[in-house]
């Protein structure tokens, strides 16, 4: 090939690459602007505030201090609330996995007809807004709710029972209700990606159902388990609306509620920001630790 032709070809390639890069940049720009403007910049602002000083109601002094973090980490009240929030998040996460796994397994491996219908039904439960679903629990668990109505109609109780609403139990039920569909979808998605040949091979090699499950299916679904647990754990631990609406007199305050209290009631953004970042670090640590389970090779 003559040198001139080679140079022209190279120039054309470069030009094509430039156009491709430009196209990519143009396509990504809106997302980058939105993520940068609506997530990164506010987060950085919050990070800066977490090292600033509260000068009284709504006033901030930008002198560097670690006092917000030390007070959050050493205060027994915050520690107690953290235990409550992360504990509830962990229990809800595990409960969702335990309940979601059999459903996802059945849908993925046993259900032949109606698989899509089953998944639609799972998705259907997400169509109602978060708040509507929380308020719906009033009509199920409340004094005049469905359960009390049924129990009284059947003559099982004379008076409405009050212990099923406004406590940790109702919080747990609501969280599971909210996050179970997500867990099912994540696990189903993971299971459907398992090649059937692998399972058949396990059987061909003499593995029974239990061994096939513990040595083949379970390790291959670990990614979905980790994702579903982390998703539920983080969103449950960070929720402040559900405890406020359903927690009653004893479980209405979680760690996330103290953030809103600091920002909206107390007028102390630096402490609110410090609590936020402590929670963020805990989430990263938990996610990292749970992520180590990906190395799991079977029981």
């Amino acid at each position: 090939m003559p040198a001139a032709s080679t140079a022209a070809a190279l120039g054309g390639n470069r030009s094509a690459r430039r156009r491709r890069r430009l196209t990519i940049v143009v396509l990504l720009a809106p997302a980058l602007v939105i993520v940068g403007g609506a997530l990164l910049i506010p987060t950085l602002n919050l990070l800066v505030q977490s090292f600033a000083q509260s000068l009284g109601y709504g006033q901030i002094g930008y002198d560097f201090t670690l006092s917000n973090y030390t007070s959050v980490l050493t205060d027994p009240l915050y520690r107690s609330l953290a235990m409550r929030s992360f504990g509830l998040g962990a229990v809800t996460g595990v409960a969702c996995l335990v309940l979601a796994y059999p459903v996802a397994f059945y849908v993925s491996f046993r259900l032949r007809r109606g698989r899509n219908l089953a998944l639609y039904l799972v998705v259907l439960s997400l169509f109602a807004s978060y708040l509507v679903r929380l308020y719906a629990w009033y009509t199920v668990l409340g004094t005049r709710g469905m359960i009390n109505g049924a129990l009284m109609s059947l003559g099982i109780v004379d008076q409405p029972i009050s212990i099923i609403l406004f406590n940790r139990f109702s919080l747990f039920i609501a969280f599971v209700n909210i996050f179970l569909p997500f867990s099912i979808l994540m696990l189903t998605s993971t299971m459907q990606n398992i090649p059937r040949e692998i399972i058949d091979s396990a059987h061909d090699l003499g593995a029974g159902p239990v061994k096939t499950f513990t040595r083949v299916v379970l390790p291959l679904t670990m990614t979905g388990l980790i994702g579903a647990f982390a998703y539920t754990f983080i969103l449950t631990s960070g929720d402040y609306i559900t405890p406020a609406l359903l927690g009653g007199a004893s479980a209405n305050t979680a760690l996330a509620n103290t953030i809103t209290d600091q920002l909206l009631t107390q007028g102390n953004p630096p402490t609110g920001a410090a609590i936020s970042f402590v929670m963020l670090v805990v989430f990263f640590v938990v996610y990292y630790l749970v992520g180590q389970l990906e190395r799991f090779k079977g029981i």
């Binding site: 006033q59 409340g142 009050s162 406020a244 009653g248 600091q262 009631t265 107390q266 007028g267």
Partner: protein
């Protein structure tokens, strides 16, 4: 969470939320027209916000408003009409906490941008010390002379908005927060202590309202102070009432709108701190039996007023807006719109019977001086007294217990 008796920051937030079904921070950017010089550039407390145009001149212009949604009176028919007829444009930025006002006018970002804001009376002395409100030229708000006398002169006015002879805001609405109850299931509690009786076991709702709770707890023990300065021992006394009441509590309620829901659902038969507006919220959901009372110990109250912040422009427009907000017709419609009290006696006959019945207008002096005296937000207290941060921590610990 939310506004407080008078109006703790959080309470204020929730009130707005429940009134307007979801307090969303509107992003309306009230960028005031440029740097139109001279009018009101002074920020000191001795400079009066006065413009150059003569009263009665052209009032068209822009009201750049920063405060709670609803307080810009957008949606109040008479005010909307007035704005349209006078070519007045209202550009609003809504807050989610009273601290937003403080920060906007202390750390910058608000001066010269907004020309109208509001404050809850409890912030009066604090804001005066920060130099936030520019003293008003009351000759340009003639309708203020037709408000109840208690809003114009006397010790109440001098404590909260007529400070050191300077009129720092023009009150335009007020409210009362005692105890709500289901009149079909119980008689009006004569005392907050009645709620500790066995018949209220599991039937009381406590609103997550720091300020309202401090005020009512202090009233219960007879140690209420208008400056909200309490020693740690007094704070324990105040909280002892709430600790006892919590034993009878069905739930801690996140907002006054949610309190109405709990009445309607039959979960509670009494709610405290209460708010007269809850009656309306419950009635709107079909429950006509919720009532409000001021028990013998007293109640919390709040007064909100329009203030002009430093470096405000378009002052002719702003003064005309404030003046119009105090006319009887606008006041009556505002009372209906906000479910709060009017400051103009001439507005009362123009209200619906239900709205007029929400607040005891014929006893307004006695209410705001004796039964439900106004109080300060304890954002700045001398050493030896419980600070605002400490109060919030005490309240959080109470909720979490």
């Amino acid at each position: 969470m939310i506004p407080n008796e008078p109006e703790s920051p959080s309470q204020r937030f929730t009130r707005r939320q429940l009134i307007y079904q979801g307090a969303v921070l509107a992003a309306a950017l009230g960028v005031a027209p440029g740097i139109l010089a001279a009018c009101g550039g002074e920020t000191g407390t001795t400079a009066v916000a006065s413009g150059s145009a003569a009263p009665g001149g052209d009032i068209s212009g822009t009201v750049s408003f920063l405060s709670w949604q609803g307080y810009d009176l957008v949606g109040v028919a008479a005010m909307d009409t007035w704005c349209k007829e006078n070519d007045v444009v209202v550009k609003s930025t809504y807050i989610s906490t009273h601290a937003d006002i403080t920060s906007k006018f202390t750390t910058g970002g608000g001066k010269g941008i907004y020309n109208l804001s509001t404050y809850f009376q409890g912030y009066g002395p604090f804001y005066e010390s920060l130099g936030i409100p520019v003293p008003l030229d009351m000759s340009r708000i003639p309708m203020f002379k037709d408000t109840y006398p208690i809003f114009q002169t006397g010790p109440v006015a001098e404590q909260w908005w007529l400070i050191n002879g300077n009129q720092l805001c023009a009150p335009f609405t007020w409210g009362l927060m005692g105890c709500n109850y289901d009149s079909e299931k119980t008689k009006a509690p004569a005392s907050y202590l009645d709620l500790l009786k066995p018949e209220f076991k599991g039937k009381v709702g406590i609103v997550d309202d720091v300020i309202g709770s401090i005020v009512i707890g202090a009233h219960v023990h007879g140690i209420f102070r208008e400056n909200s300065q309490y020693t740690p021992d007094e704070a324990k006394q105040i909280m002892s009432y709430w600790t006892e009441l919590k034993k009878n509590a069905r739930t801690i309620i996140p907002s006054y709108g949610n309190m109405a829901d709990q009445f309607v659902a039959g979960e509670i038969i009494a709610g405290v701190p209460g708010w007269a507006a809850v009656n309306s919220f419950a009635a709107g959901k079909g429950d006509m039996t919720v009532a409000h009372t001021v028990p013998q110990e007293g109640a919390a109250a709040f007064v909100d007023g329009y203030m002009i912040p430093p470096e405000a422009t378009d002052l002719d427009t702003v003064y005309a807006f404030i003046n119009e907000a105090l006319t009887p017709e606008v006041q009556a419609q505002t009372a209906e719109f906000l479910v709060q009290g009017a400051v103009s006696p001439a507005a009362v006959p123009l209200m619906s019977a239900e709205t007029a019945a929400l607040y005891p207008y014929d006893q307004i002096d006695e209410i705001l001086t004796t039964s439900a005296p106004l109080e300060a937000i304890p954002v700045s207290v001398p050493s030896g007294y419980v600070s605002w941060d400490e109060w919030n921590k005490i309240w959080t610990a109470f909720k979490a217990s």
